[in-house]
Symmetry: C2
DNA sequence: CTGAAAGCGCTTACAG
DNA sequence: CTGAAAGCGCTTACAG
């Protein structure tokens, strides 16, 4: 492996000039910068990661804690993780994966050993214990998902309230006056995840403003249970003419097959709108999927 | 953050003694070792990761390349990733997550910068391009999944052939003479994944040895298509009395609901055996799940 | 059984 | 615009 000395020698400059030319932390004459870059390229030079961590103050690594709860949707989870890693790379950062086992002690370990420069908390619940921990840590951290106490934190999340509102507005404009929301599994609401509740609030309030009749059923990983709830739903006096699906992929499929078995055609008899979910819809015939971002 | 000097001072020894006492790379008298450990504990000392990488020869980090293909089962994928991270921690290793975007250039980067000590390739296909790459890299790597050319590689995988054999043997012992295998999606076989084929081979050969009649249908992420195949299957002259399910969770559920709709009871009319899959079976009533390991 | 010291390969004040 | 040199915090021969 070529070192900074090799590059300096090849380019005929000092190692400090190589460092400055490559990091851009000091202005370097156009000519020497070019020579250094060429030398680095021909020698296939990459700075030694350990030396970079020691000499400087940055490790160029983030820690990512991504807990797998019982009700975590693996597909959605993975898409978040992959996006994060790819985005980090654009800033010359790598991502260290922390498991739940290590959630607390591990974060302290990688922080105190200066292995990571920052921490990303994925899928943060309202009363997430990781939040208290990272607040005391001397490195920056951000949460994806909004905890109850956001003091001193930078929180990022999708605007699920807006998703609920947009879903209602869209269907209202098509003339629907009775709309049902098929939500996440019941336990997801229980464990403090805030996004399904925010979506539901946006949904309810937008419907109330328009005087629209609403229904709600929990999603379910058990097809029979979900089908039974749908059956109840459509046996009501004013059954919905549109369904907003915030459940998982299996829920979507169950709804589809339930409607088909029931002889209800989409969109002639019932409209379907998928909202606030993210998975591959290739196998479905859902007309729309709405997600907005906020900060 | 406490450094090795702080610990040395606190324990009244030299920094080299601290290093040796903590790493165990040289014998240290019982008494001083204890003093060093106590000092480290009270100062909450953790070795600086960058310094450890530089001074020594190890970064204590593995790179994990875990491609998400179109037919990747996210749940299975995640369970592999989490297991790997947890197992790595037992050897004082952290795991750096590489995405597909960086599969080739990224591996070279983390190797040449000495960021990682080794590479783990997950879900390796028969003609996986990553295999050629890591063969030339100066650090060790292991594959999970077996490529065509295993020269100079250490390959690890589950023994899916044995899974297929065990499935047949188990059902044969219960007296079944006509067994169907519900496999992975058709495209999974196409892209060079070897495990479903190995399972199928084990299944076929074990059945042939026993003179058992076999059927095969591809799994499918589309419920209708899979149901149609099952319908064909049970309309045959000698329909199966047992199904071995190597399909994904949705496939399992589709089979269940198909059998229920058909009026076929489990296990009275048809036996079900889940083989070579890994996901939470809480929502199913499958009787058995078999996986064996080999090296 | 233990210590003084070189060295790992960078970054970054300090000088010119 | 550039260089010589200190220093980051470890590990590990070299000495005793």
């Amino acid at each position: 492996m070529a070192t900074i000395h090799d590059v300096a020698h090849e380019a005929g400059v000092s190692i400090s000039t190589v460092s400055y030319a490559l990091t851009g932390k000091r202005s370097v004459s156009e000519a020497t910068r070019k020579r250094v870059e060429e030398a680095a390229l021909t020698l296939k030079y990459l700075p030694n990661a350990g030396a970079r961590m020691m000499g400087g103050t940055r490790s160029h690594i983030f820690a990512l804690t991504a807990p797998m709860r019982h009700d975590t949707n693996p597909a959605v989870h993975m898409s978040f993780v992959l996006s994060l890693v790819n985005e980090a790379r654009k800033f010359d950062y790598d991502v260290l994966l922390m498991t739940e086992d290590e959630a607390t002690r591990g974060l302290e370990r990688v922080t105190k050993s200066r292995l990571v420069d920052g921490i990303i908390l994925l899928d943060v619940a309202a009363d997430d214990e990781r939040v208290e921990l990272v607040r005391d840590l001397p490195i920056p951290s951000i949460t994806i998902g909004v905890p109850d106490n956001t003091d001193g934190l930078i929180c990022v999340d999708l605007d699920f309230r807006a998703v609920g509102e947009i879903a209602v507005r869209t269907l209202a404009e098509y003339g629907h006056r009775s709309i049902a929301l098929v939500g996440q599994a019941e336990e997801t609401y229980g464990r403090g995840a805030t996004f399904p509740l925010r979506l539901r609030n946006g949904f309810d309030e937008a419907a109330a403003r328009r005087g629209i009749n609403t229904h709600f059923v929990f999603g379910d990983s058990n097809g029979g249970r979900l089908r039974a709830r749908l059956e109840d739903l459509f046996n009501k006096e004013h059954p919905p003419t549109a369904l907003v699906l915030n459940c998982d992929e299996f829920g979507h499929k169950t709804v589809e097959s339930y409607l088909a078995a029931k002889g209800l055609r989409v969109p002639d008899d019932v409209s379907l709108l998928s909202a606030g979910t993210s998975f591959d819809m290739d196998e479905l015939d859902i007309p729309l999927d709405t997600i907005d971002r906020n900060y």
